[in-house]
């Protein structure tokens, strides 16, 4: 009797030795799926949803253009009208063509005609500015565009 009591007095400690492994797995997961933003967003950028989507090409064949209202803290300087963000600055429509051309010049020659322009446009933006950008792209003969969206049910989305 005495012997038994002694054995069950303490609960055995749970081994935490494998806890680091679990956390490391999580860590590696996040490290692989995330891409660290290369330029801070200066504009509001809530993309629309769509479900008929294609995956974008490799990162080195994509040029990003962000469009949206200036972020809250910049609104006092830049106003509330939608602006275009190229790299890390806000720009005019007429700056789009030179920017895309300069990006193109940095790419290796064999990739140049495979470049897709990814239009990351806030869903509340009016279409006018988007058509202006498309006109600019047409004028420099960069014709592959991608309306970048989130994956989701498009029809029932409200905003």
């Amino acid at each position: 009797m005495d012997y038994k009591r002694k054995k069950y007095k303490k609960l055995p400690a749970i081994s935490t030795a494998s806890l680091p492994d679990i956390v490391f797995i999580l860590l590696f997961f996040f490290m692989t799926v995330t891409t660290i933003k290369d330029s801070p967003l200066l504009v509001d950028n809530e993309l629309p949803m769509a479900d008929q989507i294609n995956k974008l090409d490799k990162k080195d064949r994509v040029v990003d253009i962000y469009v949206g209202k200036p972020a809250q803290e910049l609104a006092t300087v830049f106003g509330a009208e939608p602006k275009i963000q190229l790299d890390d600055r806000l720009a005019k429509v007429s700056d789009v063509a030179p920017y895309v051309l300069s990006q193109l010049a940095q790419k290796p020659e064999e990739l140049r005609n495979l470049i897709t322009v990814s239009l990351k446009v806030d869903k509340k933006v009016k279409l006018g500015i988007v058509s202006d950008i498309k006109e600019e792209l047409r004028s420099i003969n960069v014709l592959k565009v991608n309306y970048t969206t989130y994956e989701g049910d498009a029809v029932n989305e409200v905003y």
Partner: protein
């Protein structure tokens, strides 16, 4: 003197803390970036001469500044756009050139999918979100028909074919075969979506 010959074990208890710290850092700094969207090809800039089209082969979709949709002079909700686009593309009133069409064969609608053009006219004041919705629904209409034909001819949906084609594990020989199938399906229902100005001429 008693000497401890064993190598002391490193305490791994704080390893978890270090890993958690890293994990939290990545959770905070990272945003899962979307790299998906609707692919489109813009028309080249060179002015092309106006192409006369038969009115029945054009489906006019107009998006106005209040985000309202008009299809062939009728106000339509976005939910109905897909089905009316499918009906238009699949109509095939010309029985000879479109024996695979399953539509109504309405003589006042498109002759065959190759001639059928969807013309999208959108106001500058319309919202981008709505525009993407319209683009999405029109793509869905094409995909639906392509899937149907692909299922009939090859027993696989068109989207599955594209999935296999884009899979890096598919061998080169298979890729070539699948590419042929994809082109065949694309030719059955070519995506002819125009955003150019269209004018109705009165005869």
């Amino acid at each position: 003197m008693a000497r401890n010959n064993e190598i002391p074990e490193v305490n791994a208890g704080s390893m978890a803390d270090i890993a958690f710290l890293l994990l939290i850092f990545f959770l905070v700094t990272a945003t899962i970036q979307t790299d998906m969207g609707l692919d489109r090809k813009l028309p080249p800039k060179e002015p092309s001469p106006p192409v006369p089209l038969n009115e029945r082969n054009v489906l006019r979709v107009v998006l106005n500044k209040n985000d309202e949709l008009m299809v062939e002079s009728e106000l339509l909700s976005i939910n109905e756009l897909r089905s009316s686009a499918v009906a238009f593309l699949d109509n095939g009133s010309d029985t000879k050139s479109c024996n695979y069409c399953g539509g109504e064969r309405d003589p006042y609608s498109s002759e065959n999918p190759d001639k059928a053009i969807i013309s999208l006219n959108s106001d500058r004041e319309a919202s981008y979100g709505m525009y993407v919705k319209v683009q999405n629904e029109l793509t869905a209409a094409y995909m639906k028909l392509r899937n149907r034909e692909s299922l009939r001819l090859y027993g696989l949906e068109y989207s599955e074919l594209e999935g296999i084609y884009n899979d890096s594990q598919t061998s080169v020989i298979d890729k070539k075969q699948i590419k042929d199938k994809i082109t065949t399906i694309r030719n059955l229902f070519p995506m002819r979506l125009s955003e150019a100005e269209t004018r109705q001429s009165l005869k």
